[in-house]
C-alpha cells in the first residue's frame, strides 16, 4: 500500500496535477509517525510512510495548507474523509484546492497498547490480513491488529470513504456491528453522582496541554475562544479544579453537531483521558432526538442543532430525556 501511494503521489506531482502532498513521515521511532507536507519526489521517496502507526487524521492541516498557492494532495483514511467533508461543508477548505485520495484502513495500531502487551523496542511493523508483525530489538513478535488497536479504531463506524477524488486499495463497507454507543450507555446508566465522580476523576488528570483542541478537526476557529482575550475565559486562572474541567465541557459544546467522532482527541491525549465520550454523548443524543445524523456524511444535510423542523423534539422532553439516570 505504501509503495502504491508513494508512486501515485509522485506521478501526480510530476504531472503537475498537484503541487504538494500531505502525508505521513517516519519519525525518530517507527511508531512516531508525523504528518508532513512533501514538495518533491525525492522527499516522498526518502520520508513517506503508510504504516500501522498512521493513525493521525490529516484533514485539519488542509485548513492552512489549502490557503497556499496551488493544489495539495491529501491521503485520507475512511474516518478522516468525514472530517474532510465536514470542513468542506463549513467552507473551511476550498474543495478545488485539494486532491483527496482515499486509502484503505483496517484499524491503526496504538504503540502504548503494544507496550502494555510487553512489546518494546519496536523497529519495524507490517500488517497483513489482520495480523501485525513487529520487528523488535528482542526479535520478531506477532499480535493481531485488534489486540493493539487505537481506541478510536475499536469503535470504527465505517470503512467507506466520503468525498474523495480517487481511491487506492479497496473500498470498504459500513461497520454493521459498530458498538460505539455502548460506552456512552455505560456512563448514562450511572447515577448523576457516579457520573459526576467519574468525569471529575478522568478529567482530574488533564494538564491543559491543549493537544485535544489542536488536533481536533472541528476546532478550526480563526481565534479559539480560549485564546481570545475578549472572551473573558482566555488565559484565565482557574478558580478551582472544576473550573479547569469546564474547558472540556465548553469544547464539547463547541463541536456538538460538527464532531464526526474521528477520535483524535482521545488518541493524542498524553493523559489517556477518554475525551471522545463527551462528544459521543452529544452524537447519541442528536441521533435520538432528531434522527440519525452523521457530521461530514454529506455536504447538504443541515446539522440538526442549527436547523429547525416543525416536528423537532420539544426542549422540555429533551431535558427530561437528557436528565434520565
Amino acid at each position: 500500500m505504501q509503495e502504491l501511494m508513494k508512486a501515485r503521489a509522485a506521478a501526480l506531482l510530476s504531472e503537475g496535477k498537484v503541487n504538494r502532498v500531505l502525508g505521513w513521515a517516519a519519525g525518530e521511532f517507527v511508531y512516531d509517525v508525523t504528518p508532513t507536507v512533501f514538495e518533491s519526489r525525492e522527499e516522498l521517496e526518502r520520508d513517506f510512510v503508510y504504516s500501522p502507526f498512521c493513525g493521525a487524521n490529516l484533514s485539519k492541516y488542509l485548513v492552512k495548507e489549502a490557503r497556499k498557492e496551488g493544489k495539495i494532495l491529501v491521503f485520507l483514511k475512511p474516518c478522516d474523509s468525514f472530517s474532510f467533508a465536514q470542513l468542506v461543508k463549513e467552507h473551511r477548505i476550498p474543495r478545488e484546492k485539494v486532491y483527496a485520495v482515499g486509502v484503505e484502513c483496517y484499524g491503526k495500531t496504538d504503540a502504548t497498547a503494544l507496550r502494555s502487551l510487553g512489546i518494546t523496542g519496536i523497529v519495524g511493523a507490517a500488517e497483513q490480513y489482520g495480523a501485525l508483525t513487529l520487528n523488535t530489538l528482542n526479535g520478531e513478535r506477532r499480535v493481531t491488529v485488534a489486540e493493539a488497536m487505537l481506541e478510536k479504531c475499536k469503535s470504527c463506524k465505517t470503512k467507506e470513504h466520503r468525498l474523495c477524488d480517487e481511491l487506492l486499495g479497496e473500498e470498504g463497507e459500513p461497520v454493521s456491528d459498530c458498538s460505539r454507543f455502548e460506552e456512552v450507555e455505560k456512563v448514562e446508566a450511572m447515577t448523576p453522582e457516579e457520573r459526576f465522580a467519574f468525569f471529575r476523576g478522568e478529567l482530574s488528570r488533564c494538564i491543559r496541554c491543549n493537544a485535544c483542541r489542536d488536533v481536533c478537526p472541528a476546532c478550526t476557529c480563526e481565534t479559539c475562544v480560549f485564546d481570545n482575550p475578549a472572551s473573558g475565559i482566555a488565559q484565565k486562572a482557574a478558580a478551582d479544579p472544576f473550573e479547569e474541567n469546564l474547558y472540556h465541557i465548553i469544547r464539547a459544546f463547541h463541536v456538538a453537531g460538527r464532531c464526526t467522532d474521528c477520535g483524535e482527541c482521545t488518541r493524542v491525549c498524553p493523559q489517556r483521558i477518554p475525551l471522545h465520550l463527551l462528544n459521543r454523548k452529544f452524537i447519541k443524543d442528536i441521533n435520538e432526538f432528531y434522527g440519525p445524523y452523521q457530521a461530514g456524511d454529506d455536504p447538504e444535510t443541515p446539522s440538526p442543532l442549527t436547523d429547525w423542523k416543525p416536528d423537532d423534539v420539544e426542549p422540555g422532553s429533551a431535558v427530561r430525556k437528557g436528565g434520565r439516570a
Partner: protein, 663 residues
Amino acid sequence: MQKIGVFVCHCGTNIAGTVDVAAVAEALGKLPGVAVAADYPYMCSESGQKMIRDAIREKELGGVVICSCSPRMHEATFRKAAAAEGLNPYLVEIANIREQDSWIHRDRAEATEKAIVLGKAAIEKVKRNAPLTAGESPVVKRALVIGGGIAGIQTALDIAEAGFPVDIVEKEPTIGGKMAQLDKTFPTLDCAACILTPKMVECAQNEKIRIFSYSEVSKVSGFVGNFRVTIRRKARYVDETKCTGCGECTEKCPQKKVPNSFNLGLDNRRAIYIPFAQAVPKVATIDADWCNMLKNGKCGVCAKVCGAGAIDYKQKDTFIEEEYGAIVAATGFRPISLSRYEEYAYGLSRDVVTSLELERLMNAAGPTGGTLLRPSDGKHPHTVVFVQCVGSRCEDGKGKSYCSKICCMYTAKHAMLIREKYPDTEVYVFTIDVRTPGKNFDEFYRRAVEEYGVHYIKGMVGKVLPEPDGSLTVRASDLIANEQLKLSADLVVLAAAVEPDPSARPLATLLTASMDTNDFFTEAHPKLRPVESPTAGVFLSGACQGPKDIPETVAQAGAAAAKVIGLLAKDKLVGNPCVAHSDEMLCNGCSSCEKVCPYGAIHYEEKEFRGPNRTVLKRRVAAVNAAVCQGCGACTVACPSGAMDLHGFSNSQIMAEVDAICR
C-alpha cells in the same frame, strides 16, 4: 467611571405593593458607577419623566436604568425622554420588576431581593451599552392578502379604498370562501350570497385589486415594508384571459362523477367546472385528478366546445414574484373532520350531516334546489335533531378545547328556518348550554324557542343509531328533567367544531408568524394589538386568528386594513439599530449563521487580511445587511467562534448580566 442614574417605579401598588422600592433604590444607589438612585410613584408620568430628564442634565448621566414594567410597555417612553436631553436613547435600560417580579411573587423580602438583582444586571448591561443610531428603510406601497374569503375580501377592499394596490391570493378557483357556501346569515336571516357577491364583484372591478385565484404563496423573504413573495399559480388548464365563463365546457364534459366540493360532495359535478354561478373570477378550471384528457389523453371535448379557445392541456404551474410592504393572513377556518365521532353515525348514515352540509341542502343553488330533503331517500324529514358542540369545548382529546363560537347561533338559525318553511317538522336541539353574546343574538335565540317552537334540550346526545327502516334513533339525556331520551329522527345535524384551515400552518412558517397550540395565528398583544402578528408587517384578518362570526370578521378585516394603510402611508420605516454584526477577525466563514438566519440577512464576502510575515490572506467572512436583520440573535448563538454579536445585546453584556445575577 460612567455616571448611571437608577429610577425605581412604584407603579402605584403594582410594584410597591410587593417590592420595597425605597430599599431597592437605596441598595442600587450604593453600587459603583451609580450617581443617582431614586424611586417615584409613576415613572412614566410627566413628572416622573421630568425627574429622569433633570437628573440626566444635572448629573450629566451617561446611562439610565429604569426599574419598572416590561420594556414592551414604556421602553419607548423613557428612550424618548432621554433623547430629549441629548442622551442616546439606547443608553437606557429597563429592569422589569413588575411582570417578572412583583406580579409573580408574594413574599416581600424575596421580591425586593430579586428587584435588586434585576437592577444590578441592568446596571452592568448599561455600562456596556454603546450609543446606537437607527437606520431607515423604504416601504413598498402594495399589500398582499392571503385568503379570499369574506375576511380577505373586506381587507382588500378597504386597503384599495385608501388608494393602495392589493393582491389577493386564493387557493380555490374562486374567491368567496366559506361564506359563499352559506344559505342565510344570523341574526338577520338575509341571504349570504346577496350580501357577499356584491363585494366579490367589487373586488373584481376595483383597479387597485388583483386576484390570483387557484394560487398559493410558496416563498416569503424580506421584512416589514419590503417583503418579497413568490406566488405559485397552479395550472388550471384554462387560459384565464380567454375564458368567458360561458359554461359550455362544464355542460359538455363527459366526466360526470366528480364529487362537487362546493356542495361538500352532496352531488356531483364535471371534471371541468366553475364552482358556482357568481364565482369571481368566472373562469373554468379543470380538475386534473378526474380529467380523462389529462390522465390518459383520451377526450378533449372541452377544447372542442370552447368557442374562446381557452383550454390549454399543456398549462404548467407558473411562479410570479412580487414585492409587498405588508402581508395580511386571512386563511379562515374549516369544520373539523368527524371521522373520530362514530357515536353520531356520521359516515354510517347519509342522513347524519354537518351544519355546513345542511347549509347546502337548504340553499337554492344547492343539490336539492333549496328544498330540505334527506340525502338518503330524497324525502322530507319530519323530525330533525341538532347536536351542538360536536368537537367543541371537548376535554377528551378527540376534539377542540375551545368554543367554536358560531354554532349556537347558526343552529338557532337552521332550526328557525326549518320551522318557518316546514311547520310540520319537529326540531330538537341538544346543547351543553346556549351562548348568545352579541348584538340581537339572545333575542334571535329566544325567537327560535318562543315563536318558532324549537325544542331546546339541555343535555348531550350519546348515540345515533341508523335503523333498518331508514330512521335514526337518537339516545340522549335531558339534564333538566333528569331522564334518558330516545327519539326517532329523520335527519341529524352535527354542529362540528371549527378549526383553522390547514394551509395556515405552512403559511405561518413562511411568514415566521407565531401560532397557538390550536394553529390559530397569535396576536402581537391579545388586547391591545389584536390584528397584528408579532412579526412586523404581518397582519391577521378573520377566523385564522380565532373562531368568529361574519360581523366580527368584517370588523377585524377592516381593522387589519387600517393597520396596513397606516404602514403603507409611511415613506420610510425607522429600523431597529439592535442588529447583528460580524467580527471579521474572528469569523471562520463557516455559514452556520447564514443557515439559521430566518430573514436572509447574512451573506459572505471574500476579503483580504494581513497574514504573518507581510503576506496577504484571503478569507471568507460573514456580512450582515442591517436593513434586513431583525435582531433576533439566532446567528450569535449559532456562531461557533463568537464572531457574530448583536448591538444592544452583545455577548459580553449578557455575560455581565449573568455575572451580576450570580455574584
